[in-house]
């Protein structure tokens, strides 16, 4: 295991524990793999510059937006 993966695993153990969620040894490889994918996906979003006025759209009505 590389340093980055070891660091990530340590992060996962601490963060999951802080959240009060279980993390058994058999969960760790799967959680790590998913964290790596999530980080890659998030980078695509975070790297994109949005105007400060860009409003979030957590719940929206696409028909309203289309008018």
């Amino acid at each position: 295991m590389g340093t980055e993966a070891a660091d990530d695993l340590a992060l996962i153990r601490r963060a999951v524990e802080a959240e009060g969620l279980p993390i058994l040894p058999e969960y760790e490889a799967g959680v790590l793999a998913n964290l790596v994918i999530a980080r890659r996906m998030a980078a695509l979003v975070l790297d994109f510059e949005l105007p400060d006025a860009a409003e979030p759209a957590p719940v929206f009505d696409p028909r309203e937006a289309a008018r």
Binding site: L21, N34, L44, R63
Partner: protein
């Protein structure tokens, strides 16, 4: 002798109305098909024979009494087991939900379909908690693709797709958060409608990601999707996001054909990221439709990424209590994604939500010049069950995560989409017909025209059972 298990909903309802066949006989034919094939396809987790036959008899009594019959009279359908069905616990593909009390009532969409004469014959297998694009399920086993039972149906509406493509139900209900109607429809050679966000009530269904969840039908004809949509559409105060007015019926629109509809093909992200044979088939379909214009959903890859992040975090929040109490009872594939989602930074999600507004504005601009945008639905044909990676452009990619590469950007902003099965040789390939919000009619018109012109083709498929087709099914 007519094989009623391969007929369309429209044809069955017409035959029942004309007295050519009884609703009971139609239901019995389907129950016989279920008895013969479900052991291999693993489409149904619950078979509602008694209930279905009782409702069929009620339809037959209506006809005998001279009462006018509703538009879906005697048509058997299936519902993904995240829909509430009176008397059954709503599994949502999980082990944990089996401990829930039985639902007290059918979900509103099932009620509306049965009010229109359709007959629910069972609840179908699905990916646990609707989280995944394959049919893998650690508790119920995988649903199998009727075109090749060694292959996945796609997910998460896996059992519904297997049931409809396998001739066990005339149409079925699925849910689509990131592509869970469109991916299985494409892999199983079916039409699938993911309506505009909010067009159909989600009340009485087990949720996943509220701002991305849609419900809709899968069928073997475009007209059957339209019939089901018309029967189900309309306001419902029990779903706070449901539209407040009933849309105009789409069935009467189908006969209008392609006249006046401006069709473009999606370029950029949608001309990459897929297997060459899939992209070539989509291109042929676009040519036959005369769709020479190209449009680009700007930053579609980021839209897909934003949907991915939102799904992980919202899903983790929804299942937090179950993760704390019963992590070991989850499907491991789902559990590990949810645990990872529980520890992602909040700023990631907020930025994804801000990006969503930007992307919606950009996408809506495309409909100023075109009415329907044609794009691939899936990057490949159905992978083999258990296949975890595939190679694209020399890069090894995870199957489970990559199958939504084309569907996720569209559900992210709630646009209506029809998935259409192309008339190609070999395993099914599907395309998406994407329209502006509220314009299901346009996507359905193009789908119906593709069908009548031979560009699209569906039907029942039944291939020899795989040698390892040992499955588990529960019956009520």
């Amino acid at each position: 002798m007519t094989d009623w298990t391969s007929r369309s909903a429209g044809a069955i309802a017409a035959a029942v109305k004309a007295g050519e066949i009884t609703a009971r006989s139609v239901v019995e034919a389907h129950l016989a098909a279920v008895a013969a094939r479900n052991g291999t396809l693993n489409a149904f987790t619950d078979i509602l024979a008694e209930r279905a036959l009782a409702r069929a008899d009620a339809i037959d009594r209506m006809r005998a009494g001279g009462a006018p019959l509703p538009p879906l009279a005697g048509v058997p359908f299936a519902a993904k087991n995240l829909y509430d069905i009176a008397g059954l616990a709503t599994h949502a593909g999980s082990r944990i939900n089996r401990d829930l009390p039985p639902a007290e009532a059918d979900s509103p969409l099932i009620q509306r379909l049965e009010a229109a004469g359709a007959i629910l014959i069972g609840a179908t297998n699905m990916t646990e908690y609707a989280y995944g694009f394959t049919s893998d399920n650690a508790h119920d086993g995988p649903a199998r693709n009727p075109h090749d039972t060694a292959r996945t149906t796609g997910g998460s509406s896996s059992g519904t797709a297997a049931a409809v493509a396998g001739g066990l139900a005339t149409f079925g209900l699925g849910s689509d958060t990131n592509g869970s109607i469109r991916v299985p429809a494409a892999f199983c050679g079916l039409f699938g409608l993911k309506p505009t966000y909010g067009a159909l009530s989600r009340a009485g269904s087990f949720p996943f990601v509220s701002s991305l969840d849609h419900l809709g039908p899968l069928a073997r004809t475009a007209a059957d999707c339209a019939l089901a949509f018309d029967a189900m559409a309309g306001p419902d105060t029990a779903d706070p996001m449901c539209a407040r007015s009933k849309p105009a019926p789409v069935v009467p629109e189908l006969a209008k054909g392609l006249a006046g509809i401006r069709i473009a093909r999606a370029a950029g992200h949608y001309a990459q990221n897929g297997m060459p044979d899939v992209l070539a088939a989509v291109s042929v379909a676009a040519d036959r439709l005369g769709a020479t214009d190209e449009v680009v959903f700007p930053e579609a890859h980021r839209a897909r990424a934003a949907a991915f992040v939102i799904t992980m975090v919202e899903g983790a929040a929804l299942h937090r209590g179950r993760l704390k109490a019963r992590a070991a009872d989850f499907d491991p594939e789902v559990r590990d994604r949810l645990i990872a989602g529980a520890i992602l930074p909040g700023a990631w999600v907020m930025q994804a939500q801000r990006f969503r507004r930007w992307f919606l504005d950009q996408a809506l601009g495309l409909f100023a010049t075109h009415d329907v945008i044609l794009a691939p639905a899936v990057p490949c044909v159905a992978p083999k069950i258990g296949e975890r990676t595939f190679v694209l452009d020399g890069v090894e990619l995870p199957v489970r995560a990559h199958l939504g590469v084309y569907t996720q950007p569209i559900s992210f902003i709630g646009l209506p989409v029809m998935t259409v099965p192309l008339a190609t040789a070999g395993l099914p390939i599907g395309v998406q017909l994407i329209a502006a919000p509220g314009r299901e009619d346009l996507a359905l018109r193009v789908a119906a025209a593709m069908e009548s012109e031979g560009i699209a083709r569906s039907g029942t498929a039944w291939i020899k059972p795989a040698s390892d087709g040992i499955v588990k099914t529960r019956k009520n």
